[in-house]
Amino acid sequence: MSDPRSRLGVPRWILLPALLGAGFVLLPLVAIVARTPWGRFGELLTSQASQDALWLSLRTATASTLLCLVLGVPMALVLARSSYRLLGVVRSLVLLPLVLPPVVGGIALLYTFGRRGLLGQTMEVLGIQVAFSTAAVVLAQTFVALPFLVVSLEGALRTAGERYEAVAATLGARPTTVLRRVTLPLVLPGLVSGTVLAFARALGEFGATITFAGSLQGRTRTLPLEIYLRRETDAEGAVALSLVLVVVAVLVIGVAGQRRSAL
């Protein structure tokens, strides 16, 4: 328990495992770049299957991120601002998809929205068929991405505290006005990073999608599913598409980082 702090503010020996960890994350990315078939890169990316998959991935990830915002912001507000006793249990259950293997999520969704599922039969009567549709992909992505948004926003809300909200309320602002003019602007950075995390998680969703939505070009075969299928016949093509997903992820995180620091 000695305290030989370096100028970094952390014990120097921490650097070794930290560097090892960074290498462990970065080296596989280098490996993907090294194995990318640059000669065929353009042709691989412009193939109809790749474009369908990329376009579908972007569309569904955007839709599920919007759904996450609509459902997740109120959830985070309730979790952070109310003092109901059983809320701790509710929070743990609602955040379960965070730690659940996605394939388990897919099975759970199947038995909920599937044809013979809890809600599926009612929906079938109403003429709504979810299974094997793009909507199923969005549901699967929302299911796994929602906790990411809720967790980061709830953390931001707790950090921001209720001081300004209380002041606004004593000055006569109605709860909705306080939420719109005080709370949300205060936690905007947390909201942005939560949204970005949710989008990235939705973009990478694989297990729940393949279990619940199936795999059909242009309808349910998102980029991760296309990569997995491409590996069957064309390992190089799979690597090229993987790189696309890496680049998109880097772009998303980069854009979010800039927007956060600008605030």
């Binding site: 328990m1 599937g114 094997f132 199936g214 795999s215 070009q217 069957e232």
Partner: protein, 258 residues
């Protein structure tokens, strides 16, 4: 803090060595890479092989044939490889990874699979053409999907599946859960799936026969042991086990199974 970190490292090291310690006994372990559809009969044959070779443990890796070949090409350590089709085995021989010429040991044909209550009332391949029927098949990139495509061509039907799955088991799961009305899978898969599904024989299936080849791999730790496993699979005893699982004999030209 330092003590905690040291303890963490020690525990991690222990876990890792614990995992590989059991696996790295050279010579006494025979590793067989086999197509998923072979799971039941090969597990049984593995038991027989261990009984005949005291001290030898047979380990299996069951997965899609193409996945397995990709792993072998990346240097995965295996002694024997059994593929669900010739095209996938050709990838192994093309990379000089087969220790001897692959031997055909079984055949498999396609069948329509429906949920046990057959909600869409499917009776033939032609019934699958209706867009009302939610049909699930394998993707053309994998052997069962390629076979389904050939079958549709031979039979002159146009299939419009709602999903093209990557594995036979995914097709089966979607049919047995009632999510899909029908699927195209191998006869052996229907048999292995039990009561949740029903198989419907397809007369045209006899023209699309998948031949399963097996070969020892060049990286085999003990080549003679690998060859002995191949011999067991093609022997009368091996053929009896395979036939019970629904596989046809390797020289079958008609689709009759069992």
């Amino acid at each position: 803090m330092r003590r905690t970190a040291a303890a963490l490292v020690a525990v991690t090291a222990l876990l890792l060595t614990g995992c590989s310690g059991a696996a790295d006994d050279p010579g006494d372990v025979l590793t067989v890479y086999a197509a998923s559809s072979l799971t039941a009969p090969f597990t049984e044959l593995g038991g027989q092989f261990e009984a005949e070779h005291p001290g030898v443990t047979v380990r299996f890796s069951f997965a899609g044939s193409s996945d397995l070949v990709a792993q072998l090409q990346e240097g995965a350590p295996a002694d024997v490889f059994a593929s669900a089709d010739q095209a996938t085995m050709d990838k192994l021989t093309a990379d000089d990874l087969a220790a001897s010429a692959p031997v055909p040991f079984a055949t498999n044909t396609l069948e329509i699979v429906v949920p046990a209550d057959n909600p869409a009332g499917i009776r033939s391949l032609a019934d699958l053409e209706s867009t009302e029927v939610r049909l699930v098949v394998c993707a053309p990139e994998v052997p069962c999907g390629a076979a389904a495509q050939r079958l549709a061509e031979r039979a002159g039907v146009t299939l419009t599946p709602v999903s093209e799955e990557q594995k036979v088991t995914d097709v089966l799961a979607k049919v047995s859960s009632g999510e899909a009305d029908a699927g195209l899978v191998y006869v052996t898969d229907v048999r292995a799936a039990g009561d949740a599904v029903r198989g419907i024989e397809v007369p045209e299936a006899g023209s699309v026969v998948n031949v399963y080849p097996i070969a020892p791999v060049t990286t085999a730790v003990d080549p003679s042991l690998a060859q002995e496993f191949v011999d067991l699979v093609v022997s009368d005893a091996g053929q009896r086990v395979l036939s019970r699982a629904g596989f046809g004999p390797p020289d079958a030209t008609s689709g009759d199974s069992g």
